[in-house]
């Protein structure tokens, strides 16, 4: 077997260890009835073998540092190194979450200021930094909405969700005890205001909108939509996944949103880390402030403190104060960019997406023509010889790109969702466009090369069905 494909357990050699713990370290043992009968079968490697193992693994993985990562809805922008330096400052990294307030003033001040920045960017003044991810932010937002309705005597029954929404939206509703009603989008890919009028009544607690939506289109009728919902006593939840398109241009609080979550790992450059950790602060209107989860950071005179005395709070969703290390990174980024920088981020993100769309729309089907925001959605409808979106995606790997988001949103069959982000240069986008066009030609002339892609990755196309049928989730399971 080639060494770089060995698991860490296959590299184990009994008796080895990769740490030095001090020969004079004290030692004690547990009572016999509690003591472990045999040591857990963890690996046994020297430090050099361990380093090589994980370095080999890294070489079988693609990140933004290796190339363009145009995943729609995910905002895979560059992860600044100064953020990483900031989060690792010992005064932040070594700070225990239960440190008394007077000994953690710098951390609390950073949190308080970040709350203010996010309030300004969103146009919604009441902010909690606690949620650990966008989906948890959604959950908190819905809990705020439910708590507000309950305080008025009736929680209401359901939430309206457009058919272009992220899957986490309905899942979050379920946890909050709300039924979900899907609202179809209109022919132009935007909210159908007439359908919304028909659906809106006193049973509806809220609508969850993503703006710009997942087709990359700005919901131009958002203010009217909000008025329809507000007129019947409902609230407007804004999924902030696509905030990168509108910073400094328009604010959810100004277009009628009552509460939103903000994905720091999308818009504010905290790294995705291979699938987390993220951070999903929630911003809301002042009338929802009493319901924010405890604790919130408050400022009394010149001193900062965590406020736990919040009788109306919806509870807490995090073991401590939120994903603080991510807050440091987002704060660092905002302070580097400043107000003009953030606005330029959104402008260039939109420019890049429109540029990619213009250069591809003659080959790849564009279901919703017209200007897009920070991402565009194409489809495989015009790709010849039965070559699918998945084939195109896999083939892009051979050209040195991470594929775009595929088969989402669900309203477009065979969707290819491209979000270059502002950190890609025009020549990188030109390369991407050239690759997409080359793949289209291959689909015409040599479809098999596309259908069997990728050809030069660590593995060929993986058998996902077998992983389900012959489930092997640990090295100890038979398969």
């Amino acid at each position: 077997m080639r060494t770089e494909t060995q698991t860490v357990f296959e590299r184990t050699h009994p008796g080895r260890m990769g740490v030095v713990l001090g020969d004079d370290a004290p030692s004690a043992t547990l009572p016999a009835d509690l003591a472990r009968k045999s040591a857990a079968e963890l690996p046994e490697l020297s430090e050099v073998e361990a380093i090589r193992h994980f370095t080999h693994l890294s070489r079988r993985n693609f990140g933004i540092d290796l190339g363009m990562y145009p995943l729609g809805s995910c905002t895979m922008k560059f992860n600044p190194r100064v953020n990483e330096a900031a989060a690792r400052l010992p005064g932040f990294a070594r700070l225990h979450p239960k440190t008394p307030a007077e000994l953690s003033q710098g951390a609390l001040r950073l949190m308080h200021e970040l709350q203010g920045y996010l309030a300004e960017i969103s146009g919604l003044p009441a902010v909690t930094l606690q949620p650990a991810a966008g989906a948890q932010g959604e959950l908190v937002g819905l809990m705020l909405i439910r708590a507000y309705h309950e305080s008025n005597g009736h929680p209401r029954k359901k939430v309206l969700i457009p058919d272009t929404a992220h899957g986490t939206n309905p899942a979050s509703c379920s946890i909050c005890g709300y039924a979900v009603e899907t609202v179809p989008s209109g022919k132009d890919g935007r909210l159908d205001l007439d359908a919304l009028r028909d659906a809106m009544n006193e049973d509806v607690a809220a609508i969850m909108v993503t703006n710009p939506n997942t087709l990359g289109l700005f919901e131009s009728g958002i203010r009217e939509a909000a008025e329809i919902v507000h007129a019947k006593g409902g609230l407007v939840y804004c999924d902030g996944a696509n905030l990168n398109a509108i910073m400094g241009i328009t604010r959810p609080g100004d277009f009628g949103a009552d509460v939103m979550h903000i994905n720091l790992h999308k818009t504010f450059t905290t790294p995705h880390g291979g699938g987390g950790p993220g951070s999903g602060p929630v911003a809301a209107r002042e009338f929802l402030a009493p319901f924010l989860p405890s604790p919130v950071v408050v400022k009394n005179g010149d001193a900062y403190a965590l406020d736990f005395d919040r009788p109306k709070a919806v509870g807490r969703v995090h073991g401590f104060n939120g994903n603080f290390g991510m807050l440091v990174r987002a704060y660092t980024y905002i302070r580097e960019m400043g107000p003009d920088g953030l606005k330029r981020v959104s402008q260039i993100a939109v420019l890049n997406a429109n540029y990619a769309k213009e250069k591809l729309k003659d080959l790849y089907h564009l279901p919703y023509p017209g200007p897009c925001m920070h991402e565009c959605v194409l489809s495989d409808k015009t790709v010849p010889n039965g070559v699918t979106t998945m084939d195109v995606a896999k083939r892009l790997m051979d050209y040195g790109f991470h594929p775009p988001t595929v088969y989402f949103p669900l309203v477009v069959r065979g969707a290819i969702m491209i979000e270059p982000t502002e950190t890609e240069s025009p020549e990188r986008i030109d390369d991407f466009v050239a690759s997409m066009r080359a793949i289209f030609e291959e689909a015409k002339n040599d479809p098999d090369i596309v259908k069997h892609a990728p050809h030069n990755q660590a593995v060929k196309r993986v058998d996902e069905a077998r992983a389900v049928k012959r489930m092997r989730l640990t090295a100890d399971m038979e398969n």
Binding site: S58, P90, T168, P271, G319
Partner: protein, 448 residues
């Protein structure tokens, strides 16, 4: 702007290509009425040197990060070998997305597979997921899973569960049933199962934390017995998994679901996050599990490959019927944990655990000799509760004057008094630290 490559010429060329006359034109679909007039009110941009200087000042004003500390209570101060962070900083790892596209994500996927294996082995369980937000959310998801699997709402919870974790459990389950019963701690610090209301004949889950919030190991065979009587899932939670390097793991006592905090394994304290929720269960219940799972399979050439699997449980497929609304895991923290566990390994982790136990014993004995009373007789791991001859806050103020954070005061926490203090000692605490802590107590007792 270093993160935006576009020069003025680039912008002009691209605007021409898309047929727009200005950057403002690109946002024409945003109605004028809702456009921001003027700039955002944010601080002006800083250059890197001034930015880092500002951040260093903020960081340096956290005096607590530099002090000798005895804080635990859900987050633990442990040494992290530099190799862990240096590997995490490889861009292929930390600048990657969730490995949905398996062919160019084999590195992250294999690391998750190895993580799942190590966690399952450490906890004595059959399967583990790819991680959850933190220990608190993992515990809440464990309760949700038990409710789903049994289709019941009643949950019996030990009051030895970390209060913040209990808070998150209560928050997440508040709209899904209100049958919660809390069992008190007995005089030895372990859950008193005999206190259960006799009218309760069945339940979704019996939830107990071990080592518990007071630091002591719970009687898991008794918890298993109660769960059997109620036809309930036994959920065992934890905040200090290092204990299981030397303590018999929950799986060995028949736990159905084990969930808790993995921060101790290579993740910095970082004022509370990002941390690492660990979640393990039995193979037969895998389809009820929340979160991501990585499985082994083969590629088109029959070579070993890894892939995210069983995703039909998840919200991007099932939407409102998903097992959980959680879509991210804590992949980078899980990777830190995997590297940490690899470096310590089968031999190092027990040595480290015994070192923690010895340090905590020494700190407890020093405090007892200085007049503190051990509150609970049951065996503890690296933290314990003492009752002081004065309010804990008075003692802590005296500690602070000597540059020490003496522990976590428990006044206001249910079941504890204002003289109770939770003290945690790890491998980072020396004998000298324990002596200094005890000396402060002697002095404070004289002064009080």
């Amino acid at each position: 702007m270093r993160y935006i490559p576009h020069t003025g010429d680039d912008v002009r060329r691209m605007l021409a290509a898309v047929g727009a006359s200005s950057l403002d034109d690109l946002h024409e679909s945003v109605p004028d009425a809702i456009r921001l007039k003027g700039a955002l009110h944010l601080p002006e941009a800083l250059g890197e040197a001034r930015l880092l200087d500002h951040l260093e000042r903020l960081a340096d004003s956290n005096d607590g990060a530099r002090m000798v500390s005895f804080l635990g209570g859900g987050a633990y101060r442990h040494h992290i070998p530099p190799a862990v962070d240096q590997l995490l900083l490889r861009g292929e790892f930390f600048t990657a997305y969730t490995p949905y596209q398996a062919e160019l994500s084999q590195g992250n996927l294999q690391a998750i597979f190895e993580f799942q294996t190590m966690i399952a082995r450490l906890l004595g369980m059959e399967v583990a997921n790819a991680s959850m937000y933190d220990g608190a959310s993992a515990s809440a998801e464990a309760v949700l899973m038990a409710m789903r699997a049994t289709r019941r709402e009643t949950v019996v919870l030990s009051s030895g569960i970390n209060p913040a974790h209990r808070g998150v459990i209560d928050t997440i389950t508040q709209y899904l049933g209100d049958g919660k019963t809390t069992l008190p701690l007995g005089t030895d610090g372990r859950t008193d199962y005999t206190a259960l209301d006799a009218s309760i004949g069945e339940a979704a889950a019996v939830v107990v934390q071990s080592p518990n919030f007071a630091g002591v190991f719970e009687d898991l065979p008794a918890a298993r017995k109660l769960a059997d009587r109620l036809g309930a899932k036994l959920v065992v939670t934890f905040t200090e998994p290092l204990a299981y390097a030397i303590a018999e793991p929950p799986g060995a006592f028949g736990a159905d679901i084990v969930a808790g905090e993995g921060q101790s394994f290579g993740v910095p304290a970082s004022f509370g996050g990002p941390y690492l929720g660990l979640f393990a269960a039995k193979k037969d219940d895998v389809r009820q599990m929340p979160g991501r799972l990585c499985g082994e399979t083969v590629d088109g050439d029959g070579k070993r490959a890894f892939v995210l699997t069983l995703s039909t449980r998840e919200q991007h497929i099932r939407r409102e019927k998903a097992t959980s609304n959680i879509c991210t895991n804590q992949a980078l923290c899980a990777l830190a944990c995997t590297i940490y566990l690899t470096l310590h390994g089968k031999n190092g982790l027990p040595i480290l655990a015994r070192q923690n136990l010895a340090t905590a014993n020494a700190a407890r004995e020093a405090l007892e000799n200085a007049g503190a009373k051990r509150k609970y007789a049951a065996a503890h791991f690296n933290e314990f509760v003492v009752t002081l001859p004065m309010p804990a806050e008075v003692f802590l103020t005296a500690c602070r004057a000597k540059g020490i954070i003496g522990g976590l005061p428990l006044g206001g926490t249910r079941g504890f008094g204002e003289n109770d203090l939770l003290v945690c000692a790890t491998e980072l605490n020396t004998d000298e630290d324990a002596k200094r802590l005890a000396a402060v107590l002697s002095e404070a007792t004289h002064a009080y």
